[in-house]
Amino acid sequence: MKLALLWTDILVWILVISLLTWGWVVSRSPQVKKQWHTVFKSSIAMASAIILLFYLFFTLLDSVHLRFSTQPTESTSEKVQYQEDMVSLLDLIFAHNIESTERTYSAPFATHEYAKSIVVDESGVTKQEYLPLKHVSQNDDIMMRSLFAIVTGLMISGFLIVLHILWRSRGNFRDELKNSWQGKTTLPWRTAYLTTIFLVVTFTWFYTLSYYYHVLGTDKVGGDVLYQSLKSIRTGVLIGILTTLIMLPVAVILGVSAGLFGGWVDDAIQYLYTTLSSIPGVLLIAAGVLVMQVMMDNNPGWFETTLERSDLRLLFLIMILGITSWTGLCRLLRAETLKISQIEFVTAAKAFGVSKLTIIRRHIIPNLMHIILISVVLDFSGLVLAEAVLSYVGVGVDPTMYSWGNMINQARLEMAREPMVWWSLFSAFVFMFILVLAANLLSDRVQKVLDPRNKS
């Protein structure tokens, strides 16, 4: 067994590390710490943040890829051989669902297939009947299993909460527990705990039952929809976060230098972003993806496995999306830099002979932070939704990759069936809705607190 990281995995972990570093830096500045404290004073923001953390947790689980060694055969030398396919931690957790594919569609919790098939019984008579599903226990005590799952879920979430209260209370655990229970803490921890309990219990319930049923049904080729929806989380979150972050340095550098240096630098940068933003977004993305497809077809040496291929395509898609989306932020940053560089403290710094780089680092960037943050959280939900549309247009992620867009795209063709095959569509939309709603609510709150115009 060895660790095999994909390109996007590496980016995800770099992102996590930089987020942690940023959090550490922020926690030293009392001003910024107070701002974030204000953000999370709203219980809606707190609940949204917990939901986003839950999604992030699945993204991280799905971003550790392993390669198992093949069974050693006598002919090979002592060098260890590895299997072709990579497996993520999430795949390991859901290994039972990957192996237990059915033949075709089945509804959530169904015991029989969705469509009738022709069978010949012992007496040689041909008839049409619903075949039982292969990997579903036919007569099963669903109540007992649910009860067991819920109790387990409560225990896990209770353990997490107790750990958190212990860490927070620093000694008098009993008072802290009482305050949290009565909702008397400065931050709405009660909401946070309730959200955690709800999410953990729901997940354990789904997970336990997934051993005995297809909780959200199966798709056309019998794949488990719950597993697909969970796998899609990584795609959605990655597109939402990495797109903005990948282009952030470009937008900041160009925006700040346009605002600060003026003259021909300003003209050139303004020309660049006006030109890029005048091309309709979807068309630029489509043209970029078409180019990328041809490039990848011409260079098969870039990837070894299909997983690496789809991963590379995701990375390119993120870059193309980034190229089309940095212009708005750049324009905002340029205007704000222009405004800041007129203020007295910058003029004073200039008069004292402080170098331009120091001015940018000490005076300009800290005053741009709120714009950058707001745009990162604002863009996130739009990008998650855009992924679905792009997959529909045919310029989204690789068709072999799990994503909500691909799920919707495949299920869309089955709308005309009677009765409808609704569960694939439903699961994809619900998973996407929860993520986007949480992101929207949190971004509203962040915007309200961080935007200086709302101070009044």
Partner: protein
């Protein structure tokens, strides 16, 4: 004013050249003239001579950016890039892979696109502004807060969901309107109603929130307080002062969209089988027809730039303080 418009149009030219440069580079990065010749002539009996004569016939034998064989200014002008750009600037889009004239295809498909996009735009504008005014009138009330929550929810649902749910409910289950198709003239209204309604509804969340924030920004201004102090009724304040002064930010966001309505909506048109420019583009993307994509990119940028110029002009009409010079 006239001089200003002329100057803005002249400003637009370098931007369009930049757009051309980007699409040209994307186009020829993947699709060399040799590939195009092979695709056009068919895979069978392609000889190097045939390819060369095909390229010469269409002027594709020239170098991309710099022609070292020519003299003087022709070194730059006698190249593929300049030749292709000039064609685009005269709105000559050439032929698609299926050997159809792209220019006439676009003309034909513009009207169906507009038949969907224009009503959607108008109805959405009116509903969003009136809803936002209503919420501002009752600001801080239960109605306001609950509607804002609903707006966030509407915003958070994928547009694809509205289309699919709309088609299933109104066409499949209730049979009110046909599921897809298009007819020109008044008989086509039944095809248009559903996509227009869905388009309006999908945009209502973001729209109402945006207009509401614009009006709320105005309502805290001093002149509004003065107007109230004069004894004007709240409704008169809203329509006479808040709406009129909110016009400027609204124009910035709205006027720029109007010319791009011609481009149609990719998703709507392909779901509802409308033969407009949106579905034209989707088909081109799916069949990897780069000539059409290139033409649409150019057209889209032209419309966007026209929108920017129109925005500036509309400022002078609504705000006497703005002088174009």
């Amino acid at each position: 004013m006239f001089v200003y418009i002329i100057r803005r149009i002249l400003y637009a030219i370098p931007i369009l050249i930049g757009v051309n440069l980007i699409t040209f580079m994307l186009f020829f990065m993947v699709n060399s003239p040799d590939d195009m010749a092979r695709a056009q002539l068919g895979a069978k009996q392609v000889t190097p001579e045939l390819i060369r004569s095909w390229k010469e016939e269409r002027g594709y034998d020239k170098p991309l950016f710099i022609n070292s064989r020519s003299e003087g200014i022709a070194k730059v002008t006698d190249t593929l890039f300049v030749q292709e750009s000039l064609k685009l600037f005269s709105f000559d889009f050439g032929f698609s892979d299926a050997n159809r004239d792209i220019g006439s295809d676009i003309k034909e498909r513009m009207m169906p696109s507009l038949a969907i996009a224009l009503p959607t735009f108008m109805i959405a504008l009116i509903t969003n502004i009136s809803l936002a005014l209503l919420l501002v009138l009752f600001r801080g009330s239960v109605l306001d807060t609950s509607m804002m929550i609903v707006a966030v929810m509407i915003m958070s649902i994928s547009g694809l969901f509205y289309i699919i749910a709309g088609q299933v409910l109104f066409s499949k289950i209730w049979h009110w309107v046909p599921i897809s198709g298009f007819e020109s003239g008044w008989s086509g209204v039944k095809f248009i109603i559903l996509p227009v309604m869905i388009g309006v509804f999908a945009g209502i969340g973001a729209g109402v929130r945006w207009y509401r924030s614009i009006f709320l920004e105005q309502i805290n201004q001093d002149y509004v307080r003065t107007a109230r102090a004069k004894g004007l009724s709240e409704l008169k304040v809203l329509f006479g002062h808040v709406l009129r002064n909110g016009m400027l930010p609204i124009l910035t966001g709205v006027v720029v969209v109007i010319p791009t309505l011609f481009m149609g909506s990719l998703i709507m048109e392909s779901f509802f089988g409308i033969p407009g420019l949106g579905s034209y583009t989707i088909d081109a993307i799916n069949s990897q027809d780069f000539a059409i994509v290139k033409a649409m990119v150019f057209l889209g940028s032209v419309f966007y730039i026209i929108g920017l110029i129109l925005t500036d002009i509309s400022y002078t009409l609504f705000d006497p303080r703005v002088k174009l010079s």
